[in-house]
């Protein structure tokens, strides 16, 4: 396979975690172009936001990287290895918490470990620590129906971290939550991914949120779905919420809005 050899060579250079070249995905035998000719490199430990209107291929791009769907064309490698299916070094979190209601919070967090093999005492301790990290130390044995929407997403985040993956894909993870909870969780997310030194791709509809969290913003446009532009965000992470009122921040918001056109 030429593509994977190429990808391995890229990975060996050690400067990027995710490599995409001419990456495309069509559905319905080419009727719907969900993602067209995406080219990018993502540096280790960086935070990338994907922003764009509905149907521009954000989820499709994440699913491709997660190995949940096969690409139609192009190259895609994570850690220099061609993506052929779901992998342990890539983890994904969805808009819905998708917790299992017959499992306690900590049992839900342990699900990825269980799927990979036997659960050790160290795994259990790790799961409990992760729940503490996301602020749920008193809710280890609560069932999902006993938790609020925000708490359920925290469990889902802990479960994502439990995979041990260093590439984290988050598809509108807090999209269904209220403004306050979302803002709080965003700040915590920034701290946590910094702590675990993960490379993160984060999908959102919200331009300010995208810029606030990220080192790079992939601005995507629909029909066909594509990455229209990649905007660098120069601020140090982690950042205070107050940065959103600075003139530099607002210049970036205007710039992204400009690329998206009248849709936003």
């Amino acid at each position: 396979m030429n593509a994977s050899v190429q990808a391995q060579a890229n990975g060996a250079a050690g400067k990027s975690v995710i490599n995409a070249k001419g990456l495309s995905k069509t559905f319905g035998g080419g009727a719907v172009v969900a993602l067209n000719d995406a080219n990018f490199e993502i540096r280790p430990g960086s935070f990338v936001s994907l922003v764009g209107p509905s149907g521009c291929g954000k989820s499709t791009l994440l699913r491709l990287i997660a190995g949940l769907i096969d690409r139609t064309n192009g190259e895609l490698a994570v850690h220099g290895r061609d993506v052929t299916g779901p992998r342990t070094d890539v983890g994904m979190m969805f808009q819905k918490a998708t917790l299992l209601e017959w499992r306690t919070a900590v049992e839900n967090v342990l699900l990825p470990t269980e799927m990979a093999g036997t659960v050790t005492k160290a795994d259990r301790k790790n799961a409990a620590d992760l729940l503490r990290m996301v602020g749920l130390k008193d809710f280890l044995f609560a069932f999902p129906s006993q938790l609020s929407g925000g708490m359920q997403q925290r469990v889902a985040l802990a479960r994502l971290l439990q995979t041990g993956a260093d590439v984290l894909l988050l598809d509108e993870p807090f999209g269904a939550l209220d403004e306050f909870t979302r803002e709080r969780l965003n700040v915590e997310l920034m701290r946590i991914v910094g702590e675990v030194k993960a490379t993160t791709l984060f999908v959102t509809h919200n331009i300010a949120e995208a810029i606030f969290l990220a080192d790079q913003v992939f601005v995507m446009t629909p029909r066909p779905g594509q990455i229209a532009s990649i905007v660098d965000v120069p601020f140090e992470r982690p950042r205070p919420l107050s940065i959103q009122t600075s003139p530099e921040f607002n210049t970036l918001v205007a710039q992204v809005r400009d690329i998206l056109g009248e849709d936003h």
Partner: protein, 284 residues
């Protein structure tokens, strides 16, 4: 802690309070019934007095104790029939859920079995299995098969794309998705089917007894009816009600504990048990 007891107390009080009108109504019905028979509006051969039924109950259950032997015969027939019918139903449902061709080949038979009045099989089943318990167990098994099969299959065929995607993203195999996702998700419906099935199994056992048998509450009841001893006959009918209640609530008990996550009180208890098990395991 005191909070807990007080809520339980008020709940108990209000439950007691709600039950009172029901008791009054029931007592009223009995009194009118008793009066109607005594005043000659109803012939006691057709409908006996409540006090006569109570007398028959005392006789059957306490003085002679005739009922118990038959009671356990019928209970055994219904339970064994149910266990056989449920095992076959669940196995076929699991196979149908796992394999589309299997489902296509089995479904027509299941549907034919369902639309054929199961009770009409009684003479055939008695011809096959004889006058003993075998034919009662067989009819019970046949009658409880369909509701359990359909409910279990429906439960297993529910697909939640989001959750399956989550499972796949953490590298789960199809077998893992089935065991850890589809089976637990199907349990509420499976138990709903089991509850219906247990009731229909009892119907099967009793109907087969009515037809041809030497023991069981069905036999006892038809014997009393032939003797025009309606009071004893109705007293025997009550024993069937009792069997039905025992079966239903045993299943309800299991349902509550196995599908614990649907009820607030059971969830809380499960939560505490999980915490204890965890702490024991983690050596704290």
């Amino acid at each position: 802690m005191s909070d807990f007891t007080s809520t339980t107390d008020t709940r108990f009080d209000s439950r007691l309070f709600r039950i009172v009108p029901h008791l009054i109504l029931f007592a009223l019905i009995l009194v009118i019934w008793e009066a109607a028979v005594r005043l000659g509006f109803i012939t006691s051969i057709i409908i006996p007095r409540p006090t006569a039924i109570m007398g028959a109950i005392a006789e059957l259950y306490f003085v002679k104790g005739t009922i118990y032997h038959h009671f356990f015969i019928t209970l055994t027939e219904a339970v064994v029939g149910f266990l056989i019918g449920a095992s076959v139903a669940v196995s076929l449902a699991v196979c149908s859920a796992l394999s589309d061709p299997f489902k296509r080949y089995v479904s027509p038979y299941a549907i034919v079995l369902n639309v054929t009045p199961g009770i009409a099989l009684t003479p055939i089943i008695i011809a096959w299995f004889g006058y003993g318990m075998g034919s009662k167990i067989a009819l019970a098994a046949v009658l409880c098969f369909f509701p359990i099969f359909v409910n279990t299959l429906t439960g297993l065929l529910q697909r939640d794309e989001d959750r399956e995607e989550l499972f796949r993203s953490v590298g789960a195999s199809n077998a893992q998705i089935f065991r850890k996702l589809r089976v637990p998700a199907a349990l509420p419906l499976l138990f709903a089917g089991m509850k219906i099935g247990l009731t229909t199994a009892l119907i099967g056992a009793v109907v087969a007894e009515f037809s041809q048998a030497t023991e069981g509450v069905g036999v006892l009841m038809s014997r009393f009816s032939f003797q025009l001893d309606m009071a004893s006959s109705l007293a025997t009918l009550l024993s069937m009600t009792l069997i039905g209640l025992i079966l239903f609530y045993s299943m309800e008990f299991l349902d509550d504990r196995i599908v614990f996550w649907r009820r607030e009180t059971r969830r809380a208890a499960a939560s505490r048990a999980k915490a204890r098990a965890w702490n024991a395991r983690m050596g704290q």
